[in-house]
């Protein structure tokens, strides 16, 4: 064995390779795995430097997050005001603020730290559904400042709350008559703003939109740091215009030896015509390096279930709300799908509601008939409401699915009470149905919409418990821990067509590991989210997670 080989020994290596499920030693050379096995088996190769720093740790393949966004890296430059605890890229547990008073307190703290009195204060992560449907009003935010503009962006990213000074500067008052400016009981705007017109006006008076600013290398490094903290070694950025500046930032960041994650950006189909999009993806794919993997496209067909913008089949929303929005028209989708399919480009198609899922399945079916492509692996993203019949069609067509397991915890109660009703809420994000029908599947966070944390995502799929403690369809849809680990490693890699490179610890693949203090297969299933993550190994380079 060459002298530049390093042999990591661990208490246990859970390989996620079904042919060799566990081991104690893994040999690494030039960033890739040379051999996996017992001490004796590895010794038979001869030579190599033994690194036993993980002798008390458990190694798994680095987690693969198949649906998250670079915005996770951008948001952490702003204060977090969500109801649940969340870990920052610095590894710090930022406590949830589950009341109006604690939200205001956190904002006051952030406001005091600002030096420029004119600079707007942005914050993120708020969701009234998580604090008993209590609204955050302009009066609440005025307690933070009456002179500095303040904007709190909801977890959904579609709604915001602003303070009175923002409303005044935007000239939004009791006479304003547009749908996106919500009025309070006093007849004046409450401070809640949503929709394109209100956002346009507010961002103009604030001078910027923190969500559409230019991406910086710092943002990408924060994203990579969050990945290290959460044990993620392959991460998506699943909807990006891929403007020249973004491409340059990704190129620069990914070429650094110490960049600690493999990044998989998906081009947003909406940003280009199919012809231009295909040409762009092909050109970008030619520039791929070990840590930057272009090649996929993202299509968004409908909105979100909890925002009542997802497209549902009959009988629609449980509470009678009117059906949601098409972002791509059902008759336009087949043309777009056919073009990317024929060009051999893998599609990731966002469909939350089951009507959107149906339209996407039909489009792939038509494309497969017109231009049969074996192993296309087009993947429906979220696909939260699909029933068994739809899963069977997916299976027949070779479609994969990436289910939004975190929704069970964060919005499961809303789905049970408001959007889907008991029966459909119990099969929300139907991982059990996917298993039974044999549809290849992953599970995801959609970070920053919910926290980046594959172990937590696995915990959601295993326990299917909501934030209020209600259990949804555990008997029929829950995964075992082993199955859930598959869905955050090798099967997530499969949905990205990267399972030949990452997702398991076996000879030939990248030496990408997550280093855990305990074995998820040994601890009680309800505690897998609490396992401490020591850090990661990416391409053989060890990185201890920061702990602030």
């Amino acid at each position: 064995m060459a002298q530049d080989t390093v042999v990591f020994s661990a208490r246990k290596i859970v390989t996620m390779n079904a042919s060799r499920p566990s081991a104690t030693h893994v040999a690494v050379r030039e960033g890739r795995i040379v051999a996996v096995g017992s001490q004796d088996e590895i010794a038979s190769l001869g030579g190599g430097k033994v690194d036993d720093r993980f002798k008390d740790k458990v190694l798994l393949p680095g987690f693969v997050e198949g649906h998250s966004h670079i915005m996770e890296g951008m948001m952490w430059s702003l204060p977090y005001v969500g109801a649940f605890d969340r870990r920052s890229p610095e590894g710090k547990v930022v406590e949830g603020v589950p009341t109006i008073d604690t939200i205001v307190e956190r904002l006051q703290h952030a406001e005091k730290a600002m030096t420029d009195p004119e600079a707007p204060l942005f914050a993120w992560g708020f969701d009234p559904l998580h604090i008993g449907s209590i609204s955050l009003t302009r009066q609440d935010l005025d307690r933070v400042s009456t002179t500095r503009p303040i904007m709190v962006v909801h977890a959904s990213f579609h709604i915001s709350n602003v303070n009175t000074i923002v409303l005044q500067r935007a000239e939004l008052d009791r006479t304003t008559n547009i749908s996106g400016v919500v009025m309070g009981r006093d007849g004046e705007p409450s401070g809640e703003v949503q929709g394109i017109a209100a956002r346009f006006r507010v961002f103009r008076v604030l001078g910027s939109n923190p969500l559409s600013g230019n991406l910086s290398v710092d943002d990408v490094n924060r994203y990579a740091s969050s990945c290290c903290v959460q044990g993620v070694t392959t991460v998506t950025d699943l909807h990006n215009d891929l403007a020249d500046q973004t491409i340059e930032v990704y190129r620069t960041a990914s070429r650094r030896d110490d960049f600690s994650v493999r990044l998989v950006p998906a081009m947003a189909s909406v940003s280009h015509s199919p012809d231009a999009g295909i040409a762009k993806i092909k050109a970008l794919t030619a520039t791929n390096n070990d840590k930057l993997h272009y090649g996929i496209v993202k299509l968004v067909v409908d909105g979100s279930i909890q925002g009542f913008t997802a497209r549902l089949r009959w009988p629609g929303y449980h509470n009678g709300a009117q059906n949601g929005l098409w972002y791509i028209a059902p008759e336009e989708l087949p043309g777009i799908v056919a073009a990317y399919h024929a060009a051999g480009i893998q599609m990731h198609i966002h469909t939350n509601g089951d009507e959107a899922t149906e339209v996407a399945i039909e489009a792939v079916e038509a494309a497969q008939i017109a231009t049969p492509k074996p192993d296309h692996r087009h993947t429906l993203q979220h696909c939260q409401m699909a029933d068994a019949a739809q899963f069977k069609r997916m299976k027949a067509l070779g479609i994969c699915v990436n289910l939004f397991a975190n929704h069970v915890y964060y919005w499961g109660d809303s789905h049970y009470d408001l959007t889907m009703g008991p029966e459909r809420a119990n099969r929300l994000d139907a991982t059990g149905t996917a298993l039974r029908t044999g549809v290849p599947f992953a599970i995801h966070s959609d970070a920053p919409v919910t926290p980046l944390s594959p172990l937590f995502t696995a915990w959601c799929a295993v326990n299917r418990v909501t934030s209020s403690g209600r259990v949804l369809g555990k008997d029929t849809e829950a995964l075992t821990v082993q199955q859930a680990l598959n869905a955050i490693t090798v099967d997530a890699a499969y949905t990205l067509k990267l399972d030949h490179l990452v997702g398991s610890i076996e000879t030939g693949k990248y030496a990408d590991f997550v280093v855990l203090d305990a074995d998820p297969l040994e601890v009680a299933p309800e505690t897998i989210k609490d396992i401490n993550i020591w850090g990661t190994v990416v391409g053989g380079i060890v990185r201890e997670a920061p702990r602030a």
Binding site: E171, S212, Q322, A329, P330
Partner: protein, 327 residues
């Protein structure tokens, strides 16, 4: 609070489902625009302008030799519109294409809250050969119906493909959806200009173009000395026929007493305080624009006259106080 006088740019939003003819209409407006138009489109590739008319093309923005610009919305609508407002070029009109599944009114609301803009019209196109089927369609029917909710004008397009009975049926479907809404029947070759005659933009083109441009619309001017009763004015504006698309101009009302600017688009109207303009001969000078089947000026005059103090009732008095109703 007294609103400061501002120069505002009119905004027209063009909506309609896929295939209704939005792109053809936008191409028509770009080529024949009598003023300097900024046109924001979804599919840049579908814009079809003769190479000889293109002065500059930088990927995201196309500048035409007639002064119009066409911008690609891409996925960043807010950024695109922001760039136009901040770009330093003053446009006579901003035209925004809603997406085929979008609600044009949501975009129109921008012009209601952005002080540098004012809403001119929401125009929705309908493919006469399939609108009836689309309105009833299970998956997209609600989306299509919603697009007409707040429009001021429907262009019932592609009528050359249909016989009169089928056309009347399509028309009836739209009238049932929006009773009384203004409808113009069009083909790809008879698309109208914008109903923007009121602001009389400083056109860089000869007046002959403007005549063609407005052939589908009729103007109406209402000039009186006197004062409107606030409550009766509200009733009178509500009684104006739907063929009237816009009405705008200075007037005096009982409450508040300060001179006001009346602006009405479709059924929405507002009064905002203005400085008295000594160049006006009349207390009230309203100019309206409607479709070609706008009722006669005398009919319209009578509706507003009923709101004057005291109400004008006799022809003699009308003749005495009316300066002119022709333009």
């Amino acid at each position: 609070m007294m609103a400061s006088p501002r120069i505002t740019t009119p905004v027209t939003v063009i909506g309609g489902f896929l295939g209704a003819g939005k792109t053809t209409y936008l191409n028509h407006l770009l080529r024949n625009g009598p003023g300097r138009y900024a046109v924001l489109v979804n599919d840049f590739g579908a814009v079809n302008i003769d190479a000889g008319l293109i002065a500059k093309h930088d990927g995201e923005t196309m500048t035409l030799t007639n002064g119009c610009v066409c911008c690609s919305i891409g996925s960043g609508f807010l950024d695109t519109l922001g760039r136009i407002l901040d770009g330093g070029t003053r446009f006579d009109h901003i035209i925004i294409e809603a997406s085929g599944v979008g609600d044009p009114w949501r975009i129109a609301e921008i012009a209601l809250v952005e002080p540098s803009l004012r809403l001119n019209a929401v125009i929705v196109l309908a493919d006469a050969s399939r609108i009836g089927q689309l309105l009833a369609e299970q998956r997209v029917g609600d989306t299509v119906r919603g697009q007409f909710d707040r429009c001021n004008l429907i262009l019932l397009n592609k009528i050359d493909l249909l016989d009169r009975a089928t056309l009347d049926k399509a028309r009836a479907e739209l009238v049932a959806l929006r009773p009384g809404v203004a409808i113009i029947e069009t083909t790809a070759h008879t698309l109208p200009g914008l109903p923007d005659g009121i602001s009389n933009p400083a056109s860089r083109f000869a007046a002959t173009d403007a005549a063609d441009h407005e052939c589908n619309f009729r103007r109406w001017a209402y000039r009186r000395d006197g004062v409107f009763d606030r409550d009766r004015l509200e009733a009178a504006l509500g009684a104006l026929p739907p063929q009237l698309l816009r009405l705008k101009g200075p007037c005096s009302v009982t409450e508040p007493a300060h001179p006001q600017l009346l602006q009405m688009v479709g059924r929405d109207w507002a009064l905002t305080p203005v400085e008295p303009d000594s160049s006006n001969d009349n207390d009230i000078l309203l100019v309206g624009i409607g479709t070609a089947n706008l009722p006669p000026a005398a009919t319209l005059d009578a509706i507003l006259d009923a709101a004057l103090i005291p109400p004008l009732t006799t022809t003699a008095e009308l003749n005495r106080r009316a300066v002119t109703s022709n333009i």
